[in-house]
Every structure is written in C-alpha cells, then in structure tokens.
C-alpha cells in the first residue's frame, strides 16, 4: 500500500487541475448568480424602504387575505395528496393489477407537463364553456375563480410528490413485513399503522414537506384558474405578481420574502429528514443499515 502512495496515480478523466478548478469555479459563480443573488436581493429589497413599509405591506388586508388563501389551499391540498400518495404507493408496491405501469407513468405526468397546461385544462373542464361548466353553473357551484379551483390546480401540480418518495422505498421493503404482521393476526389497518407507516414515515414527511413547498409556491396553474381577484382569489404568489405590476416593488419583495423564508425552512426540514434516511437515493442505500436504528 505504502508504495502506491508514492507512485503517480494514473490520470482519471477530467482530473487535470486546470480543468477541475475552472469547472468548480464556473459552477460556484453560476450558483451564486442564478440562485444566491436573487435570494439576497429579495431580502434587501423587502426592507429597502424600512421596517414600517415591510410590516405595513404584510399587514395590508389584501396581503393577509393572500396569505390566508395560500395556507388554506395547502391545508386542503397537502393532506389530500398525502392520502393519494400513500394509496398510490401502497397499491403499486403491494398489489399486482393490470395498468400498474400505466399508473406509474400517469403519476409522473404533473412533473413533466407545464403547470399552465393544467390550468387551461381545468378551464376546459370546469369553465362556463367547459364540459361540466353549465351543470355546475345551474347548481350554483363555483369551482373556477374560487378556492376549489385553486385547490384542484395545486393538487394536480403536486400529485406526484408523496407517491414518488414512497414508491421506491416501499418497493425495496417488499411485502415481507406486512405478511409477517398479518400472519401474526394483525388486521389490515393495524398492519398499516403499526408496521408500514413507521417504516416509511421519514420518506412520507419528506414528500409532504416538498409537496407543501410546491403548493404554496405554485403560480402557473393557479393563475389561470383563480382569476386574480385581489382580496378574494389571490394566493401569495399571485399577489406578489400583482404588487409588482402595480410598481409596488417593496411590497412585492416583502411578500416574496415570506415565500423565501418558507423555502429556507423547507430546505432545513429536507436536510434534517435526509439525515433520518428519507429521500429517494439515501433511503435505498441505507435500507439494510437502517434496520433497527432507533427511530
């Protein structure tokens, strides 16, 4: 071994100092310009006209309403998508049924399609000229340009998050644990609560955190279906856009800072959860090792 230390290592691909250092430099500079700088600008601009303006903007009824709309949307969309994600992951990993592969692909669609397409699609389904539009109108049910539409659009966009975290993990875990629990006399519900859920809880939480961040930040799909009525159907991202178009830069940045803070908390939660073994790649790699580590 000691000899190999002195011997020159054979050059690996891209291992020349010039190449390596310039590549690292480019990535660092681009990262700073593209990601870090805008975040700093938000912080600086939000307080550019002092604390008073900042607080006043956030205290404005329209802003408060927008925050409320965003929170309510998340409170509905995230739990529903969590249940959907668990159900989808459970059926895909524990059962065999025709169309299983198709379901896997369908779950992925919101990741690959532009959110605005989802918004437009909802217009065609629930809009006045849409398929269910006249029917809904006849019974005076408002879906578009109201909370239900916003929730639906948000749910479409974030449908894959929980399922995508759970599926690989539950696939790797197989059916043995559930079979063992059932053979010991546990009911299906008991098996789920006592055996399945504890073994996927960090991955589940990870998916929920990402899903929540996306619901709260969703713009494209929501902007189509909400109608942008200030103080009524504006969510926080839409509100920021309105403020910006009204040349209220400080206000826009102040509102944006809320989302930025949310993002920071999301990142912290994400890293903390990844330490616990959540996250797709980590969960798979640490599966044998994590057997029995104190939860």
């Amino acid at each position: 071994m000691s000899q190999t230390h002195h011997r020159r290592k054979p050059p690996r691909v891209g291992d020349r100092p010039l190449f390596r250092n310039s590549l690292i430099a480019i990535v660092l500079i681009l990262g700073a310009l593209l990601i870090l700088a805008p975040l700093i600008v938000i912080g600086v601009e939000a307080f550019s006209q002092g604390w008073q303006t900042y607080v006043a903007t956030l205290d404005h009824p329209d802003t408060r309403h927008a925050i409320m709309m965003t929170v309510v949307t998340a409170l509905i969309a995230v739990p529903v998508n969590t249940v959907f994600g668990i159900a989808a992951a459970w059926s895909i990993t524990k059962f065999d049924f025709p169309g299983k592969r198709l379901l896997l692909v369908v779950i992925e669609i919101p990741f690959s399609v532009s959110p605005i397409v989802a918004g437009v699609a909802y217009l065609f389904v629930y809009g006045l000229q849409g398929i269910f539009g006249p029917l809904l109108d006849a019974y005076d049910v408002k879906i578009l340009f109201a909370l239900p539409g916003i929730v639906l659009a948000s749910m479409f966009v974030t449908a894959p998050f929980v399922a995508r975290e759970l599926i690989p993990l539950m696939q790797a875990q197989g059916r043995d644990l559930e079979e063992a629990a059932t053979s010991l006399g546990a009911s299906g519900w008991r098996t789920f609560l006592a055996v399945t859920l504890p073994n996927v809880k960090w991955a589940l939480l990870y998916g929920v955190v990402l899903c929540n961040a996306r619901v709260m930040g969703e713009f494209g799909a929501v902007s189509i279906v909400s109608g942008n009525i200030r103080g009524q159907t504006n969510t926080l991202p839409l509100h920021i856009e309105l403020l910006y178009h009204d040349y209220q830069a400080a206000g826009a940045f102040a509102s944006a800072s809320i989302l930025a803070v949310l993002a920071v908390f999301t990142i912290i939660a994400k890293v903390a959860l990844e330490r616990r073994g959540a996250g797709r790649r980590k969960a798979l790699a640490s599966l044998p090792a994590s057997q029995g580590t104190r939860p």
């Binding site: 043995d176 063992a180 629990a181 053979s183 073994n199």
Partner: protein, 344 residues
C-alpha cells in the same frame, strides 16, 4: 395439528408452480420440503400458511378445511427467510406483536411475562431491549421464531430458515431447532434447498421437482433407496457411469455390479465418492488419475475413465496416488437405474 394437502394446485400467470400435490403431515411431525429452486416448495409452504391461495385442491388442518381461511385467522407461525422482523420495534416488541394485535385480549403483564418466557426459550434473555439491527443474524432468526411461537400457532412454518446464515451458526441453530421442536412438539414444516439440512433436521423429507412430489420418506429411506437418478443426485455428489444390464448384473467399462430386478438394456450407474476405490488391477473401470486434492480427512482423487467419464472419489489419507498414474476404479456400492431415454 395434523395437516393434509389434497391435490393442491397453484399457477402464477402461465407458470404452474405446484401440480396437484397431496401430502399428509402427522401431528407433531417435523417435515422438510426439499427441492431445487423452482420446485414449488416455498409456494406450498405459503399456501399452507394462507399467504397464497390454492387455485385447486384443499388444505385441511385436522378435520377443518382451511383452504379459504385467511392467513390472519389460520393460526400459523411463519418464519420468513429474511426474518421480516419489524425494524422499528425492539426484540421484545417484535415478539409481543402477535399477542398485542390478537383477538384474544391479554393484559400487558401477561404479554410481558410471555415475552420473557419466549426470550428464555430462544436463549436471548437480556436482549429484549435491542433493535433487530443491533443483533446478529442467528439471533434475528431466533427472534423470528419466538415471534412466530408467541401466538401459539397450530403449525410452525419456516421458509429457508437458515439460508442467510453462515455455516457454523447454521449448524448450531439446526440442532437447537430440533431441541425446541422436541420440547414443544408442534407440527413443523420447513423449506430448504440444502439436502444436508433436510436430512439432519427432519423426521420426514419430501423431495420436490417441478411442482410435484418425487419421493418422500425418512432420511434413511430416501438416502438408502432413492427412487430415481434425480433424487440420488440431489441428495449428494454422485459419479455417473453408463453401462448395460444383462441378466441382473450391470456392467460398465469392466466394472460389474448387481442390479437385481432390472430388465436387460442400457442403464446408468451412480456411485457416491466414498463407494469408489482405486486399485492397480481390475476388475474395474480403467482410468488415469488427473488430479489429487488433499483434504483434512481424506484425499479426493479425480480420474478420467477410458470410457470418457470423469470420476471423483475419496481414499484414505495414507494412500499413495499421484496424477498421471493409471489403474482401475472399483465399485464398492452403486445404484443402477434403467437409462431414461429423455432425461429431465
């Protein structure tokens, strides 16, 4: 509890895993299902447990038709190949799980007492607070067994119980499982592809091939009187010679062996490595030594017969044999089967 399988069939998609298997297991018996992979042994075990449903046939527990009883209510203890211990529960919680979810309500104190008793039975006292990740493979296997026994199963089912363990641990656990079985007297079926394990442990060995029972009997019966070449080869190393039966005697390359009751015609002769010997003169199969392997207890001699077959056998450590030497392989004991024209 007596277990009876009556013409049980299982098909996966288009693959027929089990072809009409009928089997009776006496109360308190320890039975091994032995076969190569794909022989349907695990599928049979899972059907007895209720983890798979039979497509045809019936499974009886005593006089009760258990075919359609779901696994939850069937009252079996199943030990999984990879233990399937709940990683987020301690050893004690794992063992107590069955009792805490049971329809029969037990008090906390009762469960704790029973868990302690089981920990003692599987010799893991003091490890109740550990997590499965913190104990060895052999210990995990014993926890899995204790967990299965905790629900007072009518029958204990073990899927490749020692498959994932190294040789030493496997040996100890085998003896230990035998002791536990003797102590509790619970009807036990286990699946293995390791013939040594099956022969060491079981009262009766059921040998399976392609979803059918080929032969069943005590270890002595199947070893001394294998029904066909598959069973013989599966139970242990064997040399094969082709020859001919004439008037109740089989002849192969100069060696002659009694073959009572066999019709005249082509035959195959099987001999274990211990049943062959080496001598300078015949009568025997003329051969040349290609290699000698030295082992602690014997010397393994590899020869090339003039008839083309490569043979292997063991001789005493003192014997002076070297590669290149020519001589004769003599048959001390052998099994003769009429040659199957379409060998499987």
């Amino acid at each position: 509890m007596k277990i009876r399988l009556d013409n049980v069939i299982k098909t996966f998609d288009t693959f027929r895993a089990v072809h009409g298997v009928s089997l009776e297991i006496e109360s308190g018996e320890l039975v091994a299902l032995l076969g190569p992979s794909g022989s349907g042994k695990t599928t049979i075990l899972r059907m007895v447990a209720g983890l798979e449903y039979a497509d045809g046939g019936h499974i009886y527990f005593g006089d009760q038709d258990a075919t359609d009883i779901p696994v939850r209510d069937r009252g079996v203890g199943f030990v999984f190949q990879h233990y399937a211990l709940f990683p987020h529960m301690t050893v004690a919680e794992n063992i107590g799980f069955g009792m805490s979810v049971s329809k029969v309500k037990r008090s906390k104190a009762e469960i704790v007492a029973r868990v302690q008793q089981l920990l003692k039975l599987v010799r893991l006292e003091g490890l109740g607070d550990r997590f499965p990740g913190q104990i060895s493979g052999g210990q995990r296997q014993r926890v899995a067994l204790a967990r299965a026994l905790a629900v007072d199963p009518k029958v204990l089912l073990l899927d490749e119980p020692f498959g994932a363990l190294d040789a030493n641990v496997r040996h100890d656990l085998r003896r230990w499982l035998r002791e536990i079985h003797q102590e509790l007297g619970i009807t036990t079926i286990f699946v293995t592809h390791d013939q040594e394990e099956a022969l060491d442990l079981a009262d009766r060995v059921v040998i399976l091939k392609e979803g059918k029972i080929v032969q069943q009997g005590t270890p002595q019966a199947v070893c001394r009187d294998p029904k066909d070449a598959f069973v013989l080869k599966f139970l242990g190393d064997a040399n094969r010679l082709t020859g001919e039966v004439r008037a109740g005697r089989a002849m192969a390359g100069g060696a002659v062996i009694d073959a009572p009751g066999l019709a005249d015609g082509p035959a195959e002769i099987y001999a274990r490595p211990r049943d062959l010997d080496w001598s300078a003169e015949g009568p025997g199969v003329a051969a040349t030594v290609t290699r000698v392997l030295d082992r602690p207890g014997e010397r393994r001699v590899m020869v090339q017969a003039v008839t083309g077959e490569a043979l292997e056998f063991d001789v005493e450590p003192e014997r002076d044999i070297a590669a290149g030497q020519a001589g004769f392989v003599t048959l001390r004991r052998a099994k003769v089967f009429a040659l199957d024209e379409n060998p499987a």
